[in-house]
């Protein structure tokens, strides 16, 4: 919590952890100094089932550029799959 930059959001889906697939209901996105990634700063994402706790979370630390690339890839896949409505829906979310 050196930067204090943390965003929380609800999510709906599944993730695969060390004990197999489980339901995800919460995502925490932070911009801070990473624990493992070889970078000064990183986007740290925890995908969580709140009932299962943080021990079973899926955690990633992405360099800022790779986080942007991932966001672009996600939006591009949504755009191709769902059409032009994706952009409007994303703006609604923001």
């Amino acid at each position: 919590m050196c930067t204090g930059i943390v965003e929380n959001t609800r999510v709906s889906g599944c993730g695969k952890g060390p004990h197999g697939w489980f339901i995800l209901d919460h995502a925490i996105v932070a911009y801070d100094h990473p624990d493992h990634a070889q970078a000064e700063r990183a986007v740290m994402i925890d995908l969580v089932n709140e009932a299962a706790g943080f021990e079973s979370r899926i955690a990633v630390e992405l360099t800022p550029q790779s986080a942007r690339d991932l966001v672009r890839a996600i939006l591009a896949s949504l755009s191709r799959g769902e059409g032009d409505g994706t952009r409007a829906r994303n703006q609604d979310v923001q």
Binding site: M1, C2, T3, G4, V6, N8, H26, I28, A30, D32, H33, D35, Q38, A39, E40, R41, M44, D46, V48, G53, F54, E55, R57, A59
Partner: protein, 314 residues
């Protein structure tokens, strides 16, 4: 071959001919020279000499006994709650000064346990309380993720935890009555906060603490006041170690903090290291910078020895 005689600051005589390599770095004056000093060694730091010249501590010899105890204990935390703490001390009777360590954002982890033992090795009663205990137990990085999701640990709770550990150290029969406080990362910020909001610490070391300077929109119920706004109340000398490439705190934020400390006539020393970013002491992370870390640690030992009356009774 006669040894070299080297004098630094007019008060330290070093008879070890290995120790002449650092004359520029330590401003060592060579008084008599019986061995030519190779050109390539002139600007190199001799840490053996550095440590010996800087310290009142007896240099370790291979025939000395040295021992410490390090264990998990329970101490009083905020609101009187019991919290786990890692405590290390030399085995002899002292007296020793104390140091409370505030762990960093990644949690109450192995680096902090090692660092607690490092302070004991250097002659301190050292304690590192788990300031994340209210969030439950688990692997440190999992607990840290839980804390991150919850928006961090509140400033009030940290202050309470530190007062509990301060009281514990002062109550020990081995205590010399002096206690310092040390922290890195978010712990560095909290060091400054605690040193301002409480009395009882004799020296404080803030290593790259971010968010000492906070904008209005960053304030939350957990962080209601930017630590810089407490500067007037700083109750002990402060040492700050920072990296020029860090963005939290940025050099500009460190400069603002420095201005505020000067404004209120506080005793402090800030060091901004070139070619270093955040966390340059952490040997297990990519931000580690060997030269800056060694120099930074020497500054920590010098500072605490000066204000905590450290002696070598290990």
């Amino acid at each position: 071959m006669p040894p070299l005689r080297v004098v630094r600051r007019g008060d330290v005589t070093c008879m070890n001919d290995l120790n002449v390599f650092s004359h520029e770095h330590l401003q060592v004056k060579i008084v008599s020279e019986s061995i030519p000093i190779p050109e390539e060694r002139l600007n190199k730091t001799c840490f053996l000499c550095s440590r010996q010249a800087r310290s009142n501590m007896q240099q370790y010899r291979t025939d000395m006994y040295e021992g410490m105890i390090a264990e998990t204990i329970t101490v009083s935390g905020h609101d009187g709650t019991a919290v786990n703490a890692y405590f290390a001390r030399p085995l002899s009777s002292g007296p020793f000064p104390g140091v409370v360590l505030i762990h960093h954002a990644p949690g109450w982890d192995e680096w902090y346990r090692e660092t607690t033992r490092k302070f004991a090795h250097h002659g301190y009663l050292a304690i590192s309380p788990n300031i994340y205990q209210q969030f439950g137990h688990g692997v440190p990085e999992d607990v840290a993720a839980r804390v991150r999701a919850a928006g961090g640990v509140s400033d009030d709770d940290v202050v309470g935890d530190m007062m509990g550990s301060l009281g514990y150290l002062k109550s020990l029969p081995q205590s010399n009555g002096k206690v310092g406080i040390f922290g890195t990362c978010s712990g560095g910020r909290q060091v400054f906060l605690v040193a301002c909001r409480t009395k009882g610490f004799d020296a404080a070391v803030d290593c790259w603490g971010g968010r000492v300077v906070m904008s209005q929109q960053d304030l939350t119920p957990k962080y209601p006041v930017a630590p810089i706004d407490y500067t007037r109340d700083l109750s002990c000398p402060l040492l700050g170690l920072f990296g020029e490439e860090d963005q939290s705190p940025s050099p500009q934020q460190v400069a603002l903090h420095e201005q505020e400390l000067k404004k209120y006539g506080k005793t402090f020393a800030f060091h901004m290291y070139p070619k270093a970013g955040h966390g340059f002491f952490y040997y297990n992370r990519p931000g580690y910078r060997q030269e800056q870390a060694v120099d930074g640690w020497n500054k920590v030992w010098d500072f605490f020895e000066k204000y905590l009356e450290t002696s070598d009774k290990r």
